[in-house]
Assembly symmetry: D2
């Protein structure tokens, strides 16, 4: 890290910083500029880096501390330059493979889920999704079928021969979900639920980690590092829109952030245009934009009858619209030199 | 709610909307303007409102659906015009009572906690805080003393005769915490962890609910409504800064949002300038601004030796600075016609 | 518009609102719900709508005023459902025509501009751009060649047979620019410089109106309406990134906002991935994403020697990279069923 | 500045950076860490710093360039540690002097302005404000009385013996405004209108520079530096709210940013709670919060009859409310150890 002293910092202040660095096992070199003295510090174990930086900022005469190393390691391209392929059952994402996950926002009934599952399977989706535990921001909204939904998802997935994924909202749900479902989704609201990240990671199953809607790309990758430190690198990242000042779309889909993240990490990244835009009219253009921008896959909400959905109907595609989108995605993937 | 049709909506589209409203038990009246037809809908139970609105948005010819009722009830001033007083042990917040919660960001040792506790007690704080379970955004950072920290907090609180509060990050921590500590804090990262809200609420203890750093005031009050629906209105709201495009402060302290929230809810609201600003230099000005702006209390981080803190040292006040701030707060509270 | 009264509003408050509406020439109808009374108001000329709404909000008992009509008209798809084609010289944008504007961020010398112009012409760009008056956020940065740059742009444009565009920063620059250059760019910082919008519009030339980086789509379209009210509908909109909390990219490219804007307006919209991302590594992926997402064109910065550029070098493509991007864009446009 | 090389940067890449630094007249020293090589660069004139940094970022093997010096100088506390007092006529702001500027958002008529002026004078305001040229975001809104308004403002200011201020939106307005009015306001939308900043600065009159609602504090101070480089340090900064994701208030008043800016600059900073909050209910709490947080003054909109205002009525205080606020401000200023 680099420690920038205030203009005219006292000799004693500089010495105090150097002493602290030595005490913590850091090497250092001082360079005295015309206006400011700058101290470079080298060394230290990963575990204490942030702590030492904060403590240095508390010392007199220190203007700021600039970190040099990135706050993530296992998920970084610096340590693993090639793209990683992540699988959910037979489905593959990354390194030129583009996969589409689809299904209803919320599992409402066996009939609804079966209709949706058949439709997405026929159109070419490779994983079936469906919400069982729903994080609804109002206590008066429908909260999902919970355990019953998980069982339905597993059963219908087997029936239509698609691997499955669903969201877990807290560690106690992991066990029941994994009895029936192939992969775990960590939702945007839980991206910083660190106990959940660790416990989900420890199962060894593929984890789809959505970006928090107020998380920087760096924070997202740090959350992925939490999962990775449990020894599990089967991590599929998912961009789903961030919060901005404009509410014309439900969230602001950050495809530039997705592309920037791909420069930083070897993990595959998919995009969820349904939650990002909040309206079916924008799902197809943003799905195509995502693939053209380099996404390794998509997650799309499909409902047999959107106008009767118990949750997020306005953003769900009908089976017909989804099939048409998949045709366009296939053409696009080919032009991009990738495969589905 | 009000349904706005697109310009030139067909008669059949309008009839379809009316039929759907009737089917769901809503009364309606149609008003045909020059450009658009507008439909007012009255009735319906709270539980289905959001669902019906979403379904209507999916019907052809509907431009948008404007909700009229607020999405929270129990916490609303509409239903309870007077301000509520919320207590933690002997401490009181709201309706003219300004309380200060203080202590270290993280409990590091018995010695550190005792020093901090004595300092804040002597300076006039009415509740002792200290973090035991820490949500750290990097897996390589110090994660807190966990259960051991909770026990220390309870013991030192009794020793210095201050009620205590600490953060719980998931439902399984609630039980052990409540054996030792008086009140539960739900952190900004968990504001939308709805299982946690419900289970914490169900204990009947006072819940301090921090605003998520990407949460609107409306979403914050909806989260409070989650706690309230468990039958527990001992809710202390805490504004701690939101995310904006400027990182000159760690977060952007939203005192306007705090004041706007006070117009909406009868619950008391305190302000945490330590996490919002991230630097001790701005804690005192923002603490005073908060009180002058109508906050019902403050939460301030105090560490006996900030430059040796294991977490958030740069934003911690020394005992001396805290005592000086408390003198200023007392003068200000008096001018405001309130008491501490 | 719809006026929502507070719960339990007094009869006198409701009557005051109705009287005010009548006085301003609005028809109205009252609907009294269980909790709130709602008043629908119809009529009024465009010029006073906002004023009346604000005045109503100031009356006792009024909770909020919900506008129904959109705040723009001439640029709205409601009034002109088909997409408009906008031209700059021989170049066409919109309704299935995708055009690419390219050239250096800043005109530095005749040699640099000629090299860039030949390169972009050969690769298939249809308009030459180059900055003459530069809005630099630091007074110590290079401010552009100003008048001399404008003349160079006109001359080199003729030489390579490309129509030209450059930014004007204030009304006094319009005259000199239009002696040499075909179209006027209004930059993001000036999107709300309403005198400039009016005077630029009054020239009748094509205006490229960039979205302000803190402007909602609605505000952007209102700015376009300013230009349109001068009688000029030759308006090319340009999305160039908005400000968000994450600075991993220079701005957050809002392709969802672009697509949402296309639902609202008949004007063509192009995308500038150079300013949005700030780094050449992300320009190509975001250019492709924009076209796949429905953009009617692109604006790309190209510099013969980016590492010697006097401004924005890091985001400029080399001629070689630009030619390679144009090949990809052509394939993509074909798949999309559009033409260049 | 500090140049951070990518991990495993080639020797040739490092040499190329050093050569470029030498060519531009920078001294340098290289420090090779375990993972990365870091190069410190010292020297260079202010004018080329940004350009050199950008060019270095374009060289192969460079990960990022970290600036060390601040991008402003004349307005920085580093170069002028004491607070500056800025005057408008007899009014003083800064270094312990708290001044209040008040008046109507928009000048509508002689009668309205005189009523407002008498009211604010009697309540203790020290400068009279009133808008003549109005930047309205819709072309259908009232645009102000323009020249006629400026004359009225000058005349009524003399009548009630208050110095005056009004906004200029482009350079051509400066001359007529300064014939009648004492000080110039640069509005939030024009904070980056650099020609306007320079020409306004060159008049030598006091410039009130509002923070752009999407401007970082650093960008705001860079804009002030533009004014300062014209040789004019009579600059009064004004925080008026920034754009955030929550629209419960019109803008998000950034008092933390104001306090952070005061650490950086010696210029006085006032706060405009009227535009920030958009509703008179929040003006008083935020005015008090601003003063308690260290603001050097306030700007408050006052209208004799807010419910008949042609612009921004909902956020205007009545004369009675304003007088009551001024009483509270006076008590608060006294407690803070300052004077009015």
């Amino acid at each position: 890290m680099i420690i920038v002293m205030v203009p005219g910092a006292k000799e004693a202040d500089i010495k105090r910083v150097l002493a602290r660095l030595e005490q913590r096992g850091y090497g250092h070199h001082v360079s005295a500029g015309v206006e400011r003295t700058i101290i470079g510090a080298i060394g230290a174990n990963e575990r204490e880096k942030q702590q030492v930086a904060e403590q240095l900022m508390g010392l007199p005469g220190v203007e700021r501390v600039v970190p040099i190393l990135k706050p993530y390691k296992l998920v970084s391209r610096d340590h693993h330059p090639e793209g990683t392929v992540v699988t959910i059952g037979t489905a593959r994402f990354g390194a030129g493979k583009v996969g589409v996950i689809a299904g209803p926002c919320t599992i409402e009934s066996e009939k609804q889920l079966r209709e949706a599952a058949l439709a997405v399977k026929n159109a070419g989706a490779v994983v079936l999704r469906g919400g069982a535990f729903k994080p609804r921001s109002s206590p008066y909204d429908f909260q999902g079928l919970r355990e019953e939904g998980v069982e339905l998802l597993g059963a219908i997935g087997q029936e239509v021969e698609l691997p499955t994924i669903t969201e877990v909202m807290e560690p106690r749900q992991i066990e029941v979900v994994l009895q029936h479902v192939d992969a775990l989704q960590i939702g945007a609201r839980n991206m910083s639920n660190f106990d959940l990240l660790r416990e989900a990671g420890a199962t060894g199953r593929t984890i789809m980690l959505k970006r928090g809607y107020a998380a920087t790309v760096e924070e997202w990758l740090k959350a992925a590092e939490y999962v990775a430190t449990s020894g599990n690198l089967n991590i599929l990242l998912c961009e789903r829109g961030i919060r901005s000042f404009d509410s014309i779309t439900r969230f602001t889909l950050d495809l530039g952030g997705m592309a920037a993240a791909k420069l930083e990490t070897h993990l595959p990244i998919i995009v969820d245009p349904s939650h990002a835009t909040g309206t079916h009219k924008l799902v197809s253009p943003m799905a195509l934009a995502a693939v053209a921008g380099g996404a390794d896959g998509l997650m799309i909400e499909v409902h047999p009858h959107p106008d009767q959905a118990r949750c997020d109907g306005p953003q769900s595609l009908t089976p017909k619209r989804f099939a048409s989108l998949m045709d366009q995605v296939r053409s696009l993937v080919q032009v991009m030199g990738e495969t589905m």
